[in-house]
Amino acid sequence: MSKILLVEDNEMNRDMLSRRLVRKGYEVAMAVDGREGIEMARTGEYDLILMDMSLPEVDGWEATRQLRAAPETESVPIIALTAHAMAGDREKALEAGCDDYDTKPIELDRLLSKMETLLSK
């Protein structure tokens, strides 16, 4: 069973996405801001991180850069999630070190396929 770390500050989004992922058979842990996300990720317990980009304390881009810079987290797959459906956000996320990108609201099937692609690598 893949362990997923969901870094998301919005409580409803966190609840909704985590419940749906659990229903699909994933084990989901949650962090509420970038700093907590980095701390939890450093434990090395997670197979994939879903990272919201607009986060308090440390934002998603910065958190991703820090994770990529640390040896224990440099290779963990990260999918950026953002409400900013702007062209450019994708590039910006990929530049920061994310492996893929998806926009909110979540199309669950689309997100699952992206997750499975990264998890199967």
Binding site: N10, A83, H84, E91, K104
Partner: protein, 714 residues
């Protein structure tokens, strides 16, 4: 031998005498011919004949006074106690006869003649008439103190001398006439120079009239100018005609001036009050005869002039007409010039008022870029008075350290062609002002004379622009954050409704599925509205950027088709996809290309029921510039559009009718966004449609999009 000798001695004496006479006659001819006026002619006649070789001792030349018939002595030699201008009355004296019949008369013994006016006690007299152009104008009188002193030889000599004198007199008179004309010309020239210095129209015409009255020796007259619009003459100067006619308006053909204005020919009216063409407006004038002439520039009528005699004894003759004809063209030019000058002055006053009252600072520079003048607007804007700036270099006065070189360059350029710019200048008190600058070369009659510079205070304008930009930026910021704030709760609505659908199905409560799906659909519709509005406002703010990448066209198309397939199926439509074999890849903003195709295909699906939707993708060279283009054609068999609807289809919020929105949904923004995306990428989108038949939308994009192909805003 003596006789021989006598005869031989007599012969040389006679020959010598003849030679002397001939020499004297030659001198006489030369003297007469070289006389420069009439008086010299008379003088040279009497002096030339009074020659020892000719032996004439008493000589005089009389001229006939045509008014009285008297003979007046012009020149004489030999007669004692004779006064200058001695007047011999008509009917008196021997020389009367030569005047009467124009023939030479010889009186061998004057003592026998009762008519003889004694100047000598006795002797003989020859009277030779002087004739010019067939008219006897005077008489040459030659006397001797001895009776029978004259022979045929003498008659011959005296006749020849009189003839020569007559020719000389005729020529002298012509010369005098020429001189008089030259004097008249000079008077006219004087008039003209007077006229050019006094250019106000009414003054000019008063002067013209006064000159004409003086020149022609008439009682008075009038001058009128022609008003082309009204086709009427207006009297502007009037002198001594028995009333002040100034302001009188005459139709063409009315009165003397009206008549000449119509015929363009001068006219003499010997008795004005009997003339049929008389104007009722002139029934009360005190004139007897009138001479009028049109004032013409070429064939163009500018006015008319009339001169009058109030004395019934005076009449107009050919000489008066000649003078008037000479005068009229110059008066016409004066009228024309004065008219032009008045118009120019009016325009000048108009422009001066414009410059004076303009809120824009206006300054003129000479060719050395020194200030010649400035208007109150300049004084107000820069705080300098005109006195302070005249003669100064403009740029050194008002440019700042930072803008001096730019200002100098502007000024240099403005010597050759108009310049327009925006810059910052300094007031007298040191404060700075943002100005719009306009500089133009001033060219007078193809000759460059300087520069006209305009400064318009745009401080407030720039302030307003900065505020507008700040407001716009705030708006963009607001939209961006609003979209985020709206999407977050929307995510919850869409997500929870979707999740609940899954859960109710799992829990066997299928009856809730339909309602949950409605919540989900409404949420998604709201999301697409927000996305479209956000896109459009970004485009209009110029904030929409292109993110170019290389991608496989076919793969992108397949992806779009997968996404759109459920939508196509919803209205029982068939989707046909035809792709050109070697489509290859394109370099463009893939997200936007996808968005456009999805938009066209979802539109086609919405407006078509049980029909066919086709997507054709082709690759071809642009006919105009040879660029390689990718062309996407989306064709449907749906409801189609009228031409009016087609015209507006790419405008924002322009779904064919309000009713359409409620029936088919959508924001009405998709096609507006599509067109703007196309333009951003250097392509375009076109529509063809027939009501009830279907629609075709064609997107053409360069296979390789270049950045900043088009500005984002339309």
């Amino acid at each position: 031998m003596t006789a021989q000798r006598n005869s031989t001695s007599a012969r040389p004496t006679r020959q010598r005498r003849l030679a002397r006479r001939q020499a004297a006659l030659l001198r006489l001819s030369t003297a007469i011919a070289s006389a420069s006026d009439e008086a010299e002619v008379y003088q040279s006649v009497v002096a030339g004949l009074h020659d020892e070789a000719l032996g004439y001792n008493f000589l005089g030349v009389f001229l006939l006074d045509p008014d009285t018939g008297d003979r007046v002595l012009q020149a004489s030699i030999g007669w004692p106690d004779i006064p200058d201008n001695w007047r011999v009355h008509r009917g008196e004296g021997l020389s009367e006869r030569a005047l009467q019949d124009g023939k030479l008369h010889y009186t061998a013994d004057v003592t026998r003649e009762s008519q003889y006016l004694p100047s000598l006690a006795s002797g003989s007299e020859v009277d030779v008439p002087l004739r010019v152009d067939g008219t006897t104008i005077g008489v040459l009188v030659v006397e001797s103190s001895e009776p029978n002193a004259f022979s045929d030889d003498d008659f011959e000599i005296l006749t020849a001398a009189a003839n020569q004198a007559s020719i000389a007199i005729g020529r002298a008179r012509l010369l005098a006439e020429e001189r008089q004309r030259a004097d008249e010309h000079k008077a006219l020239l004087d008039t003209m120079s007077d006229l050019s210095s006094e250019l106000e129209l009414s003054k000019v015409l008063q002067a013209v009239l006064e000159r004409a009255v003086t020149l022609l020796g008439v009682t008075g007259g009038e001058v009128a100018i022609y008003e082309e619009g009204a086709r009427e003459l207006v009297v502007v100067a009037s002198q001594n005609i028995g009333k002040d006619s100034t302001g009188t308006r005459l139709k063409l053909g009315e009165g003397a001036m009206g008549a000449v204005a119509e015929t363009r020919e001068p006219l003499i009216i010997p008795s004005y009050h009997e003339w049929l063409g008389q104007s009722v407006q002139y029934a009360d004038v005190l004139v007897h005869s009138v001479m009028a002439a049109p004032l013409l520039i070429g064939r163009r009528l500018v006015g008319a002039i009339a001169t009058v005699h109030s004395d019934p004894e005076r009449v107009f003759g050919p000489e008066d007409l000649r003078l008037l004809n000479m005068f009229a063209p110059q008066a016409a030019i004066a009228v024309e010039n004065a008219g032009l000058y008045t118009e120019a002055q009016r325009q000048r006053q108009y422009f001066e008022a414009l410059v004076l009252n303009s809120p824009v600072a206006i300054v003129t520079l000479d060719l050395t870029e020194n200030i010649v003048s400035c208007n109150p607007g300049f004084e107000q804007l820069f705080g300098y008075t005109e006195d302070e700036v005249v003669g100064q270099k403009l740029d050194h006065l008002i440019a700042t350290e930072a803008t001096l070189s730019e200002a100098v360059a502007y000024t240099k350029e403005a010597l050759d062609r108009p310049i327009h710019g925006i810059g910052r200048r300094r007031r007298k008190d040191g404060t700075l002002v943002d100005v719009e600058i306009l500089g133009v070369p001033v060219i007078v009659e193809k000759q460059q004379v300087g520069i006209l510079a305009l400064y318009h205070d745009i401080t407030e304008l720039l302030q307003a622009r900065r505020e507008a930009e700040a407001a716009n930026s705030a708006k963009s910021q607001f939209l961006a954050s609003m979209s985020h704030e709206l999407r977050t709760p929307l995510n919850a609505i869409i997500g929870y409704s979707e999740m609940l659908q899954e859960e109710v199905t799992d829990l066997g409560h299928g009856e809730f599925t339909t309602d949950l799906e409605k919540i989900n659909t409404a949420g998604r519709h709201l999301l697409s509205l927000i996305n479209d509005i956000l896109d459009l406002s970004k485009i209009e703010a110029g904030k929409m950027e292109l993110h170019l990448e290389s991608f496989d066209v076919r793969a992108m198309v397949d992806d779009v088709v997968t996404t759109v397939t459920p939508l196509v199926a919803k209205n029982d439509n068939q989707l046909e996809v035809k792709c050109f074999e070697g489509l290859g890849s394109m370099y463009a903003d893939m997200t936007k290309v996808r968005q456009m195709l999805l938009n066209l295909l979802s539109n086609a699906s919405k407006f078509t029921e049980g029909g066919t939707i086709s997507l054709d993708v082709d690759r071809r060279k642009d006919a105009d510039d040879g660029r390689l283009m990718i062309v996407f054609n989306v064709t449907d068999t749906g409801i189609g559009m009228t031409p009016a609807q087609m015209n507006r289809v790419f405008e924002a919020f322009s779904q064919a009718e309000a009713a359409t929105t409620s029936k088919y949904g959508g924001t009405g923004l998709g096609l507006a966004i599509t067109r703007r995306f196309c333009h951003m990428m250097g392509g375009d989108v076109q529509v063809q449609s027939d009501v009830g038949v279907g629609s075709n939308f064609a997107i053409r994009l360069p296979a390789v999009v270049k950045l900043s192909a088009q500005p984002a805003g339309d």
